[in-house]
Amino acid sequence: MTGKLGREELERMIDRYMEAVVADDPSRLPWAEHVEYIENNQRIPIGEGAWATIDGIGAYKHYYADPERARVGFIGTARENGVPCLFNFFLELADGKIAKAETLVIRDPVGARRLDEQGTPDDVWLETVPAEERLSREELIGFPDRYFSSLEFNDGLGDYSFFHRDCDRYEHGKRTTNVTEEQSYGHSGDTSFTRMSCEQQWKTGFMGFVTGIRERHWVVVDEERQAVLAIAMFDHDGTVRSIQLTNGKTSYPSPYFDVGRTMHIMEGFKVKYGKLYRIEATMYEVPYGARSPLLAL
């Protein structure tokens, strides 16, 4: 039956899944005989982890549907012991039953509240693109793949024309491109970076502290909306002590990068006008070098 479920049915499975987690009751769901179940980078028994603590569904719900592969993904919010958190996951169904489930519970209440206040994804994410105007799955995947390849060891010297000039990136709901107010970025005190467009940012070479983006899984390819939901492992191996920026200045990574750090990323990408148009990033830190437990995807 793989590929037979439509967007509505797939999205309904997301809702059912959330309801079951909130109820702390996995028996409400149809599980395949063999299930790959992963939460925050670990294989744990179904019913442990978030099942114990998630007690409410949040306002922000962004679905990614891939009827071709009977997969559906979700970047959204929930309540954990009443506290906002990001609750992201994807499901793969086999004969209508859950065969793979990977969840990222990200305990960033500030980011979760920001998303809740936003309520719904930006309209651009939800646009249905006429079939004759759609890029192929492979072409869609090419955008996040180029994005990742140009981000690791970013030196500012690559071809970043795959970004649309109006492309924006949001990290846990926080806009980190083209902002007009003063805002620092990540672990740096730099306040000019977030004022730039995506392409301008990449051209600075500032992101050179990212030393690898491994195990890129295109877990959901939403052809209808021309979007891709990806899971990947971002490495910062701690060896980059200074970064020569293309403007001639030198950037020194913060003490955070004195040691190896890896982020388990779940990130959405929207393609429009033949370019990368929106990026929705979420992340959870895991021990350096942790591998994605996803099997043969």
Binding site: P84, G189, G260
Partner: protein, 337 residues
């Protein structure tokens, strides 16, 4: 410990540490299928600490403002194994490292590293692990100035290896089952965790400010367990007692403490209901803002695991001293071994 073989193992241990500092493992006598894990993750030899380790206790270098001399070695000729438990600096960040090196014949077959580093707070320069609940007792490098003589002095009690391992393991049982009667503690048993006193600390803060009188780290370890403090730890998983040294009554153990967050509060006789600390709904920003000045980060309401390396000193079958380092990790972490 003066035989030629123990000297070879000790030199081999230092050669691995020096190779890490040199960022160059190529000169090491590695077995073809040598394994390396760091914080429970299988890594290529040459990755991780091999790129970041700058100094280690006993490296013979000049004094370094962030390098403590704390170092305890374990040499086990029968197992072909040498272990470093000591202070490090990675780039400019102090830490503690357990590094286990096991030989197979003349070749290094296994290297296991468990690193715990200082995390500092601050909006941008901060190194606090992103979105990971912090430990109750975050790493304090100043607590590792040197090993306490009470931990490493020669033992006259003569416990054999079997007894030492059984007692060290029983301590984990006591935590797992919340039953202090499963193990015996010496009077004045010292418990230190990440360089901080974790028992009988007169300055210990309350577990939860809502119940200011209940201060588990001010109690003896036995009393702590008896009051239910350890109920948030459901399992002490993946236990391995990787070194046993009867001459000092020491056991070095690696384990993962699993906290599934199914228990949210405890009833403590004399204190009433004590909620485990956690984010308070509607007050998240206040909770986060309170972090810099607080030893206790509210982390016991969500599923987590802690990866531990623990030294347990046992005298006459009783636990006399516990020196543990640990770091938080995603719930359900295995150790990689």
């Amino acid at each position: 410990m003066t035989t030629e073989e123990s000297g070879r193992l000790r030199d081999g241990l230092d050669s691995v540490l020096r190779a890490m500092v040199a960022h160059d493992p190529l000169g090491l006598p590695l077995a073809e299928d040598a394994r390396y894990t760091e914080i429970a993750q299988p890594l290529d030899i040459g990755d991780g600490l091999w790129g970041t380790l700058t100094r280690f206790a006993g490296d013979g270098g000049d004094p370094h403002p962030k390098l403590n001399p704390y170092r305890i070695d374990f040499i086990d000729e029968a197992a072909g194994q040498a272990i470093f438990f000591g202070a490090t600096v990675e780039n400019n960040t102090p830490g503690m490292l357990m590094l286990r090196v096991r030989y197979s014949g003349a070749r290094i077959a296994e290297i296991e590293a468990l690193a715990v580093r200082e995390e500092i707070v601050g909006d941008h320069g901060g190194t606090v692990t992103m979105f990971q609940p912090r430990l109750l007792l975050p790493f304090e490098p100043g607590g590792f100035a040197a090993p306490d003589p009470a931990l490493v002095a020669p033992s006259s009690r003569g416990d054999d290896e079997k007894v030492l391992v059984a007692v060290a393991d029983a301590f984990f049982d006591a935590i797992e089952r919340d039953d202090p009667d499963l193990v015996e503690f010496a009077q004045d048993c010292v418990v230190r965790h990440n360089g901080r006193l974790a028992a009988e600390d007169p300055d210990a803060p309350p577990l939860n400010p809502e119940v200011p009188a209940y201060r588990p780290f001010s109690l003896s370890v036995r009393e702590q367990i008896a009051t239910g403090f350890t109920r948030y730890t459901a399992r002490v998983n993946h236990r391995r007692h990787v070194a046993v040294d009867p001459s000092r009554g020491l056991v070095l153990s690696v384990a993962v403490f699993d906290h599934p967050a199914r228990v949210h509060e405890i009833e403590v006789p004399g204190f009433g209901t004590v909620p485990f600390p956690g984010y308070v709904a509607g007050q998240e920003e206040l909770t986060i803002a309170a972090l810099p000045g607080s030893r206790i980060y509210p982390n016991l309401q969500v599923p987590t695991s802690d990866l531990h390396a623990q030294l347990t000193r046992i005298e006459g079958g009783r636990i006399a001293y516990v020196e543990a380092i640990s770091r938080g990790a995603p719930y359900g972490l295995p150790t990689g071994w």
